[in-house]
C-alpha cells in the first residue's frame, strides 16, 4: 500500500478546489447518488443540447478528497463530449478502476488520461473504490434516466 499513490497532488488539488461544484441552470437530466455506508452524497446535473452534446455538467454534494476529486475531474472531461463519447469514457474509467491496467479510449487526450490514471491507486483500497466511482455511476443513471428529462422550453 502506498498513500502517495492514493493521495496524488492532482487529487488533493481537485479535492480542495472542485471544478463544476454548482447546479447547472436549465439542466436536462440529473440523478442523485449516495453511499449509505459512509454518507457520501452526490447530485449530478447534465445539460444535453439538440445534437446530444454535453453543453454543461455540474455536481453538488459532499464527500472525501477522492470522491470530490473524481467528480471534479469527471465533469471537466465530460463537458463538450457527445453522449456516446461520454459513455465510452465512463466505461473506460470504470474498467480501469475495476481491472484494466490502462485506459483504452481514443477520445481522451494524453493529459486527460494522466488525470484519470491518478485514481488507479484506489485499486489497493477496496473500501475506497466506491468513493472514486460514485459520481460516475450517478452520471450513468442521469444519462439513462429519460423519465427525468426536463424540457428546456417550459
Amino acid at each position: 500500500m502506498n498513500l502517495k499513490e492514493l493521495y496524488q497532488e492532482i487529487i488533493l488539488e481537485h479535492g480542495k478546489n472542485p471544478r463544476n461544484l454548482r447546479k447547472t441552470e436549465n439542466f436536462t437530466k440529473d440523478a442523485k447518488g449516495n453511499n449509505p455506508l459512509c454518507g457520501d452524497i452526490v447530485h449530478v446535473y447534465l445539460k444535453l443540447n439538440e445534437q446530444r452534446k454535453v453543453e454543461d455538467i455540474s455536481f453538488e454534494g459532499s464527500g472525501c478528497a477522492i470522491s470530490m476529486a473524481s467528480a471534479s475531474i469527471m465533469t471537466d472531461l465530460i463537458k463538450g463530449k457527445s453522449d456516446n463519447e461520454a459513455k465510452e469514457i465512463i466505461e473506460d474509467f470504470l474498467g480501469m478502476i475495476k481491472e484494466n491496467p490502462e485506459l483504452k479510449s481514443n477520445i481522451l487526450k494524453e493529459d486527460d488520461k494522466t488525470k484519470l490514471m491518478c485514481f488507479s491507486g484506489v485499486k489497493q483500497y477496496p473500501m475506497r473504490v466506491k468513493c472514486a466511482t460514485l459520481s460516475w455511476h450517478t452520471l450513468i443513471s442521469a444519462m439513462e434516466n429519460d423519465g427525468k428529462e426536463i424540457s428546456i422550453e417550459s
Binding site: L6, L37, G39, A65, I66, M68, R128
Partner: protein, 406 residues
C-alpha cells in the same frame, strides 16, 4: 487482574497488522476478544457440542446446562431479579426490534407517541419507525444541547399525555454522553411511561444494575462486551415479558401445537425460537467472568483516565475539533479535522495501524443536527493505553501534512 497488562489477554495484539502494531480504537463498533472467549468456542465445538433444550442424551443435557449457566451469570452481572428476565437474541438490534414489535402488537394504539433522542443509533429508531407506518404512531425527538448531551429537562419538555414509551441510549456512540437513565426512568414511571434502554455502549463501559436503573427493557450487544458476534441480550421486566406476545414463531418457543390452536412456552423460551447461538452464549459466560475479574469500577476508572488524556491531546492539536463535550462522558472521542474528510483520515491512520471508524456511525439524525456529513471516531476498550492516543495524534499530524494543513 491488572488493567495495565490486560492487552496480553487479547491474542490479536500479538500480530502485526500490515507490519504495524495494532492501535485498536474501534471498540464502540466491536471489541476485540480475550483468549478465554476464543478458546471457549473452540472447546465447546471440540468436546461438548450439542443442540440445547431438546434431546435427552448426555451431550444435550450438558450443553443445556452450560447455556443456562450463562443466563444465570448475566442475571447476576446486570442484577436482574429473575433469570427468566434474560432473553438471548441475535444482537441488540434484534432485542430492540423485539420490544418495538411486541409493544406494537399488544400495547400501543394509533396516535400514541414514542420519545427518542437525537443521539439514537439507527437500531433504536428504525424499529420504532415501522410502527409509525403500521400503527400510525408518532415519534418525537428530545434535543441535544450544545455539549452533545440530553439533559433530563429536554426529555421532560417533549413528554405529552400521549407518550407511551421513552426509548433512549445509555451512552452515546458518537458524543460519549452518559444519559441519566435512573432519573429518566423515575420521571417516566411517574407518568406511566415505559422505558426502553439501548445499552450497546453501556454494556462494556458502565455498571449494569437493573434494580438501580429500574428501566423496563435493556438491550445488550455481546460482541461489544468482549464476547462473540451474533449474540445480544434483552433484559425485560418479567411482567412485560409475560404480558407481551411472542416475537418470532418456531421450534422451542411453543407449549402445544394443534391444527386449530397453538399455545406458547413459558419464559424465556417464548422469545427464543429456533436453534440459538449456542456456542456464542456459552462463550459469553467467559466474557462476563473476564469483566468480573477486572471489576467494572476499575474499568470505569481506567477508561475515564484514557478519555481525559485523549481529549487533552486532541484539544491541543490545531484544526482538530472534538464532537460534543458532555460532563459525564465515556468510551468514545469523535472529531473532525477542518479540511480533511473523515474517510481520508481513516485511510491515512490505517496506514500506521491505527484503526478508527469514519462515517455517521449509524447516527444520521445527530450528524444532520450537527450539520456535518460525517465524523471520525476513536473509541476505547479495556486494552487501550495512553500511548494509543499519542500514536493517534501523531498519525493525525501525518494527515494534516498530506493535506497541507498547519
Amino acid at each position: 487482574m491488572n488493567i495495565n497488562t490486560i492487552k496480553k489477554e487479547f491474542p490479536i495484539f500479538d500480530k502485526k497488522i500490515q507490519n504495524n502494531d495494532l492501535v485498536y480504537l474501534d471498540s464502540a463498533n466491536s471489541s476485540q476478544k480475550p483468549k478465554v472467549v476464543i478458546d471457549r468456542i473452540n472447546e465447546f465445538y471440540t468436546k461438548q457440542f450439542s443442540n440445547v433444550g431438546r434431546s435427552v442424551h448426555y451431550l444435550a443435557v450438558a450443553a443445556t446446562n452450560l447455556y443456562e449457566n450463562t443466563r444465570s451469570s448475566v442475571q447476576k452481572y446486570i442484577n436482574a431479579k429473575d433469570k427468566n428476565e434474560i432473553v438471548f437474541t441475535k444482537g441488540a438490534t434484534e432485542a430492540l426490534n423485539l420490544v418495538a414489535n411486541t409493544l406494537g402488537q399488544k400495547y400501543l394504539e394509533e396516535g400514541d407517541e414514542i420519545l427518542l433522542t437525537e443521539l439514537e443509533h439507527h437500531s433504536n429508531y428504525v424499529p420504532w419507525h415501522y410502527l409509525r407506518k403500521s400503527k400510525n404512531i408518532k415519534i418525537n425527538f428530545a434535543e441535544i444541547n450544545e455539549d452533545g448531551e440530553v439533559p433530563i429537562e429536554n426529555i421532560e419538555k417533549k413528554i405529552t399525555p400521549k407518550t407511551k414509551v421513552i426509548a433512549i441510549n445509555h451512552l452515546s456512540n458518537v458524543t460519549g454522553a452518559i444519559l441519566p437513565i435512573k432519573e429518566i426512568t423515575e420521571l417516566a414511571h411517574s407518568k406511566g411511561i415505559i422505558v426502553v434502554v439501548d445499552g450497546c455502549q453501556g454494556g462494556p463501559h458502565l455498571k449494569l444494575d437493573m434494580q438501580d436503573l429500574d428501566c423496563d427493557f435493556y438491550a445488550i450487544s455481546c460482541h461489544k462486551m468482549y464476547g462473540p458476534t451474533g449474540l445480544g441480550i434483552l433484559y425485560g421486566k418479567k411482567k412485560w415479558l409475560e404480558e407481551l406476545p411472542p416475537y418470532q414463531g418456531g421450534g422451542g418457543m411453543i407449549k402445544e401445537v394443534k391444527k386449530d390452536r397453538i399455545t406458547y412456552g413459558d419464559l424465556p423460551n417464548k422469545y427464543e425460537a429456533g436453534t440459538m447461538a449456542t456456542a456464542q452464549v456459552i462463550a459469553f459466560d467467559q466474557s462476563i467472568k473476564f469483566l468480573e475479574s477486572i471489576g467494572i469500577e476499575n474499568i470505569i476508572k481506567h477508561e475515564k483516565e484514557l478519555i481525559e488524556y485523549g481529549q487533552e491531546i486532541l484539544r491541543k492539536n490545531n484544526s482538530v475539533k472534538l464532537i460534543g463535550n458532555p460532563k459525564n462522558k465515556g468510551g468514545v472521542l469523535s472529531f473532525i479535522i477542518q479540511g480533511v474528510h473523515p474517510h481520508d483520515i481513516a485511510t491515512i491512520l490505517d496506514e500506521d495501524g491505527v484503526a478508527i471508524r469514519a462515517g455517521h456511525h449509524c447516527c444520521q439524525i445527530l450528524h444532520d443536527k450537527l450539520e456535518i456529513p460525517a465524523s471520525a471516531r476513536a473509541s476505547i476498550g479495556v486494552y487501550n493505553i495512553k500511548s494509543d492516543f499519542d500514536q493517534l495524534n501523531e498519525s493525525i499530524n501525518k494527515c494534516k501534512k498530506i493535506f497541507d494543513l498547519k
